[in-house]
């Protein structure tokens, strides 16, 4: 009888508190480096099973509620990955289908996987402004967390690759592309009618931003500042440079922080971790967020 009373009390408490209480969620973002082949613009059937197994082991170990992935070939590659993970609750909520100018799909898409219930998802290409034409775009998914609606956005902003003979001009154009992209994302979050109609309570922006606050070449860049000014909190606040190296470096380029999670309407409930990915050139970032 006593047990029954406790159970009823617990159920009543849950029913009363449930809609108002957002459950803590774990978000992981990972640039998976031309997944699953590991080679730009190419399939590599011989290497792909190993990369699927490596990624699946990381996901099983970290158990994120939301996984934001970049440099994914297509939705089929994500489905194979989810089969390898073997956790039935995971669903592919969205995988972009960004194309190059001739209209051929890129092998570097953005995807969002989650075990939270989906309300709506989609993806958008960045708009061009003058000579500033940011590549790709962003993927988003509105999910239900407890009684709250949370927006998840995945981005992969312009790299620092410079092919132009005028290297300085090309580097500045790269910065402009990132800045323009993030301005568009903030405008989308703040003005999209469907988001407002759904009663959006919180937003998470995660992905590969290809910039940081450490390197002098980005001193005047406003990409991250745009999110700061829009009320988003960065996941790495207070951590030393060594604790937040997400890109392992290459040749003359030192390891750097390029991957982030930003949240608005939520707070970080634990320390942000950069965990071993075991493949590619980026390591995943894992954060726990809640009220």
């Amino acid at each position: 009888m006593q047990k029954m009373r406790r159970l009823i009390l617990w159920l009543v408490l849950c029913a009363w508190c449930g809609p108002a209480c957002a459950v803590s969620i774990r978000v992981m973002t990972w640039n998976m480096h031309n997944f699953p082949s590991g080679v730009m613009d190419l399939r590599a059937p011989e290497a792909e099973p190993a990369n699927h197994a490596t990624a699946a082991a990381v996901i099983r170990r970290e158990r994120p509620d939301v996984l934001v992935m970049q440099e994914i070939r297509d939705s089929a590659a994500v489905q194979v990955l989810l089969d390898s993970v073997g956790i039935p609750a995971y669903r592919l909520l969205v995988c972009s289908r960004f194309c190059d100018p001739p209209g051929i799909p890129l092998f570097q898409q953005v995807a969002i996987v989650s075990r939270l219930p989906l309300i709506r998802s989609g993806w958008k290409k960045w708009a061009t402004l003058g000579a500033v034409d940011p590549p790709r775009g962003f993927a988003y998914a509105m999910v239900r967390n407890g009684g709250e609606v949370v927006l998840i956005c995945g981005v992969h902003l312009k790299s620092n690759m410079v092919k132009d003979s005028d290297r300085e001009r090309a580097a500045q154009l790269n910065i402009l592309q990132r800045e323009l992209a993030v301005q568009q994302l903030v405008r989308f979050i703040e003005t999209d009618r469907a988001l407002a109609a759904a009663g959006l309570a919180a937003a998470v922006v995660a992905g590969d931003f290809n910039t940081n606050r450490d390197d002098p070449q980005f001193t005047s860049e406003r990409t991250l500042a745009v999110l700061d000014e829009a009320g988003f909190a960065e996941c790495f606040a207070g951590l030393s440079t060594e604790q937040r190296l997400t890109w392992r470096g290459s040749g003359a380029f030192a390891a750097a922080t390029f991957d982030y999670v930003f949240v608005r309407g939520l707070t970080y409930t634990g320390r942000t971790r950069v965990v071993a990915g075991g493949m590619g050139d980026h390591d995943p970032v894992v954060v726990d967020v809640g009220r």
Partner: protein, 115 residues
């Protein structure tokens, strides 16, 4: 006598700190101004106008990507685009543009996949 000598020594660090703090504050203002100027120069460099509100709305992708034309021919594992470039089945461009299945020696090999 000792006091007279020591007094400036004690006062000097406090003065220096105040001076340095003022200099730091001034430098911060100048850095912020320079960042702003660099941002403006960057936009000029790209010929990018100040963004109007409506141009900042990202584009919803409503048009589907280019579909490979339904080739009646049997796949050979190679695709010859109308531009004459040959792609193999591992390539991002394989069967993604107008063209036809081809043999392993036809056309010019794609630089990415090796044809």
């Amino acid at each position: 006598m000792l006091l007279l000598v020591a007094a400036p020594c004690v006062a000097q660090p406090a003065d220096s700190v105040a001076v340095l703090c003022a200099e730091v504050a001034q430098l911060r203002v100048e850095v912020d101004r320079l960042k702003l100027e660099i941002g403006q120069l960057r936009r000029l460099l790209a010929g990018a106008p100040e963004a109007a509100a409506d141009t900042l709305v990202p584009v919803e992708e409503t048009v589907g990507p280019a579909q490979a034309p339904a080739a009646a021919e049997k796949p050979t594992g190679f695709w010859l685009s109308t531009g004459g470039t040959r792609h193999n089945a591992k390539c991002r461009y394989y069967r993604q543009s107008a063209g036809r299945p081809c043999g392993p020696k036809e056309g010019t090999a794609c630089k990415k996949c090796g044809g």
